[in-house]
């Protein structure tokens, strides 16, 4: 797998008269683990949604696909009625299976794929559990599992570890390392600085505009950065979405 390179060129976004992003310029190298950091409400999630083509942004975002154009996307959370009788398997069927309805189960082919993905995130024992009965961390692992089907060339993670338990976080880190070693480009909205330092090839700090971008070792020094990171680290996840 060869992940794409991505180039953000003068990307701006205004919604309802509020300027959310302005003059965003940076590059994501092919196959890099690239973290987006910055204070909450700074527009990280909006930038991700621009990348996914879901926002009426200005400027250009060019994705230079090498292999296939498969994007794996792990949203921040799943907003749904927790009493719904949707099991983990049902959810995987809904997301990964096109025509065969979830209420008739998974096809043999998709069953093998989803079983493997759930095993990878350590949830193979929870296939029949109701989605609403899982913990927040487990639900995020389910969301991560669906992003692995089919094999993505670009993985977009929107604060996947905001409500993650320790086991889940370790499992996420292991998979991210595996995918990165396999050449997948990973764009990751992160809030844990330890993870950024240890795992990212590059980091971009976004607060309406790009404050700085570069290797984590370079951008993690300096008082301005520390102050911002401290705020980013303390803040509760979830309010960055427009």
């Amino acid at each position: 797998m060869r992940g794409p390179g991505i180039r953000f060129d003068a990307v701006g976004l205004s919604l309802g008269g509020n300027e959310i992003l302005n003059g965003i310029d940076f590059e994501v190298a092919p196959g890099a683990v690239h973290c987006l950091i910055g204070p909450n409400g700074g527009g990280k999630t909006s930038l991700v949604r621009c990348l996914l083509g879901q926002m009426p942004h200005t400027g250009t975002i060019s994705v230079d696909w090498q292999d296939n154009g498969v994007i794996g996307y792990v949203p921040q959370f799943l907003d749904f009625d927790k009493s719904l009788p949707v099991s983990v398997n049902d959810f995987m069927a809904m997301v990964c299976q096109k025509r065969r309805p979830a209420f008739t189960g998974l096809s043999k082919h998709n069953r093998a794929l989803t079983d493997a993905a759930l095993e990878r995130v350590g949830l193979d024992g929870k296939r029949g559990a109701r989605l609403g009965s899982l913990s927040g961390g487990e639900r995020q692992r389910v969301l991560f599992a669906q992003a692995l089907i089919p094999d993505p060339a670009l993985l977009v993670l929107d604060e996947p570890m905001s409500s993650m338990d320790e086991v889940g976080a370790e499992c996420f880190e292991a998979i991210i390392r595996e995918l990165a070693a396999g050449g997948v480009t990973i764009v990751w909205v992160a809030h844990d600085l330890r993870q950024v330092e240890e795992m990212a090839d590059a980091a971009t700090c976004v607060n309406r505009t790009v404050l700085f971008t570069g290797a984590p070792a370079d951008v993690l020094v300096g008082h301005e950065a520390e102050a911002l990171f401290a705020r980013a680290g303390e803040a509760e996840p979830g309010d960055a979405a427009p």
Binding site: G53, P75, P85, V86, D90, A93, M94, S133
Partner: protein, 301 residues
């Protein structure tokens, strides 16, 4: 199609005369009503699970009310007052599309907006319907509101047949995508699901189904039949498979029993009312199962 209906009617009527089937089956209208019940039961039960999952119950109520206006306009324009399908379908589809279009372009929350549309459609529909029924037939209002199986014609069965087949052909292959689009639009979009287009597809599906079921269940109660079987199933079920199939079963049994029991027992009840009361019985039953049997309590949020 009439030949097939005639054959079904003749066969069942003969069986009734011979004493194999209950006496009620010697009447053609009973068999017509039964055919309709067998068509709408499973479809409304199945679509109901999607309505509940997508939180669209309130919307189908609004369409049901809009149907009253549609019927009234039809009668005013000279359509037959027992089958005013052209104006009812046209008005309700327009109503559904405008509502969905407005939903995406206002700061109001969906339930507030639907509430506004619902009230307008109820006021206009009831006024117009009372106005025309004073001129034509005083029973129109009753029949439109609560259903009237006694007047089901071959045209009604044909409309229902076409609509249920269309619903199955559209709803089954799009089931996953329709649900994913409401669970997480952003994820659905990444997965190549045309979220906005599917919203319209679903709105159209509910609208057309609601109008087709008017004769049997009535404008006021169509929504209940989309909602109650699914809600009853949800009390005791933990997976999508059980949810859909139990909801279909409850809905079908309610429809058939709601059509047949009042005739068998000689009770002057509107079919819609009887169907919903039986469905409500299932809801109470599943609720009691859930609170009394500990195995089902896990299904609680």
């Amino acid at each position: 199609m009439t030949a097939i209906y005639d054959w079904i009617r003749d066969t069942l009527m003969n069986l009734a005369f011979e004493g194999t089937l209950p006496l009620a089956f010697q009447y053609g209208f009973v068999i017509n009503a039964l055919l309709c019940a067998l068509l709408i039961g499973p479809v409304l039960g199945g679509v109901g699970t999607m309505v509940v999952t997508k939180r669209m119950a309130f919307f189908s109520q609004a369409v049901g009310n809009a149907a009253m206006t549609g019927v009234a306009i039809g009668v005013l324009l000279g359509e037959s007052y027992t089958e005013p399908y052209i104006s009812t379908f046209s008005f309700c589809i327009l109503f559904g599309l405008v509502l969905n279009y407005t939903k995406g372009r206002t700061a109001l929350s969906a339930d507030t907006l639907i509430g506004v549309f619902l009230s307008i459609s109820l006021a206009v529909g009831a006024s117009l319907l009372l106005f025309v029924s004073a001129r034509v037939n005083t029973h129109i209002l009753e029949a439109v509101l609560f259903g009237s199986v006694l007047t089901v014609s071959d045209t009604d069965i044909n409309v229902l047949l076409v609509v249920t087949i269309a619903t199955v052909l559209v709803g089954v292959p799009l089931f996953n995508r329709l649900l994913l689009a409401s669970l997480n639009p952003s994820l659905a979009d990444v997965r190549g699901v045309p979220v906005r287009a599917l919203e319209y597809v679903f709105v159209l599906m509910i609208t057309i189904l609601t109008v087709a079921c008017l004769k049997i269940v009535g404008a006021v109660l169509v929504e209940a039949l989309l909602l109650i079987p699914a809600a009853a199933a949800r009390n005791v079920i933990r997976s999508m498979k059980g949810f859909v199939f139990l909801s279909m079963a409850i809905s079908t049994v309610s429809c058939v029993a709601g059509v047949l029991l009042p005739m068998q027992l000689d009770l002057p009840l509107p079919s819609g009312g009887a169907i919903i009361m039986i469905a409500a019985g299932f809801f109470v039953l599943t609720f009691l199962i859930r609170v009394t049997i500990s195995r089902f309590r896990e299904a609680q949020p």
